[in-house]
């Protein structure tokens, strides 16, 4: 379920946080959280280029949790100037981040590859579509991924 909170950051810009629990291997529900967040971004009225990039980052981040982790949380912190996407999971962690960032490198199990997932494009896609990407990971514990997309100046107004 969505959990919305109203935080106020130091520069008094409102932040809207959406948070969804993700179950590992739950392919039936996979993609729902990223879809819900995307719909909210549309309702907020962020620039379309931001929403497009966010759609890719959200989906890949959600699928990473579904494919690799036991459970996790997909979170979006929305402010008028910045969108921060946080994907935090309990899972195997990433032993070699550099390797994981390479296109086509995948540790997804064979049965998941047969379903058409785990092509090794997840992290490279996130990196390509975000303005910044940070990954903290501990093998055997889990991974925390923070992707930031900056909203261009006057984005929402210019499309009205």
């Amino acid at each position: 379920m969505a959990d919305t909170t109203d935080d106020r950051t130091s520069d008094v810009k409102p932040v809207l946080t959406l948070s969804f629990d993700i179950q590992g291997r739950d392919f039936k529900a996979s993609g729902e959280a990223s879809h819900r967040i995307k719909r909210t971004l549309e309702q907020v009225g962020l620039d379309w280029s931001v929403i497009r990039r966010a759609a890719v980052v959200l989906y890949e981040a959600e699928m990473n949790i579904v494919i690799h982790a036991t459970r996790g949380v997909l979170k979006a912190e929305i402010s008028p100037s910045r969108l921060t996407i946080v994907a935090e999971d309990e899972g195997p962690g990433i032993p070699d981040i550099e390797l994981a960032m390479q296109e086509g490198y995948s540790t997804a199990p064979e049965e998941i590859k047969l379903m058409g997932f785990g092509a090794g494009m997840g992290l490279p896609n996130i990196k390509e579509h975000a303005d910044s990407l940070e990954i903290e990971t501990e093998v055997g514990k889990g991974t925390r991924l923070v992707a930031v997309i900056d909203v261009p100046e006057g984005g929402a107004e210019s499309q009205a």
């Binding site: 993609g31 549309e42 309702q43 907020v44 962020l46 379309w48 497009r52 989906y59």
Partner: protein
Amino acid sequence: MARYFHSVTLDREKCKGCTNCIKRCPTEAIRVRDGKARIFEERCIDCGECIRACPNHAKSALTDTLERLGDFEYTIALPAPSYFGQFRRTTTPEAVLGALLAVGFDDVFEVAAAASVVSYVVRTYIKEREYARPLISSACPAVVRLIQVRFPSLLDHIIPVESPMEAAAVLAKRRAAAKTGLPLSKIGAFFISPCAAKVTAVKQPVGRHRSSVDGVLSMSEMYGLAVRHLKDRPPERGLQISAASGIRWGRSGGENAEVGTGERLAVDGIHNVITVLTEVEKGRLSDVDYLEAQACVGGCIGGPLVPENPYVARANIKAMADMVADKPFPFTEEEFRSFYESDFMFLEKVIEPRPVMQLDDDVAKAMMKVQQMEKTLAELPNLDCGSCGSPTCRALAEDIVRGLAYETDCVFKLRERVRDLAAEMKELAEKVPPSMEQPSQNDEPGGSSADIAAEGAGGA
């Protein structure tokens, strides 16, 4: 002029205020208010789902009438490729077109012929240009409008090529002008349409300033008028010019087949189109070159103005196309190439988004409204029953924060309020003034403290 023209209209008399249409609408553009359906103009994409969904036939498509033919000195019928699907194999494409002349047109030009031009232009575009993958076909106006409303980030994927209908109007008028010597303004081109979306595409085009089509006629009506003239005239040579592959545009898959190059994917049915566009948005279909997307199940033969059953029409299209299987393309390679290099085959202007989903023009205010909306939604039953007149609980929550509905529009919330109120009234009713006889102990609602109080009062 109104900001939006829509072909899809409501007959208030026939509307019973049921929830069939609000549930089917792909852009959540319909609400039931005052016992009648009401369409949010800025959201409607004229796909015609509501026309199909309405059990009372209260939704219909506004089209032009044949009287408009009187406005022109020379008139040309532009039958959509799907028109051929309305006739059984006992007739021929020539006879089908001949019957349109008998109805009162001076000339006929198949949109199927122009479809082959569009296919050539798309094919060449795929081979020679740089573009965002996948290119999305611009042929279905309901899909183009769906992208404006729900997928604005994909607008730059729409191939900026004109639809077969527009191309047909230009080519037909040029041919007629050369033949008759009349100025283009005295030549009227009338599209025989399978759908409402094409009417809107002519009255309010998105990729161009003005349509070259002068009127749009309902395929059902034209079929009814033309069918009795099928045997009126001897087959006229040269009347039917389109190639079989152009005629096959009338059903799903036909466009992709004629385009014939690159990785292609075809989807039909507006709800299916949404699922595929969602995949495109996630970046999952960037290996596809061209996406044929049609709002109606089965393609244009599934249009709301099409009289024949779409599955029968599909078989008919095949039979008609097979009859002209040996026919060459209506244009030479040099002509095709010159069309590709001319402006009329390309959109005149950029297709703008219709950002109707945002809750407020101000991002910060919209964020507050999202928060309110989520709070409201958490209180709603999430049964999506539609009794409130909004298609889902989420849509009702959205309507409430937009100031268009109240929480008590929800029948469950209303019942809850009534129950609370009843409980309160009961409680009040039991509060008897001290001057009156107190209720007997048996009626007292499990209240031992009240018993003690009563005893205390009696003992005093």
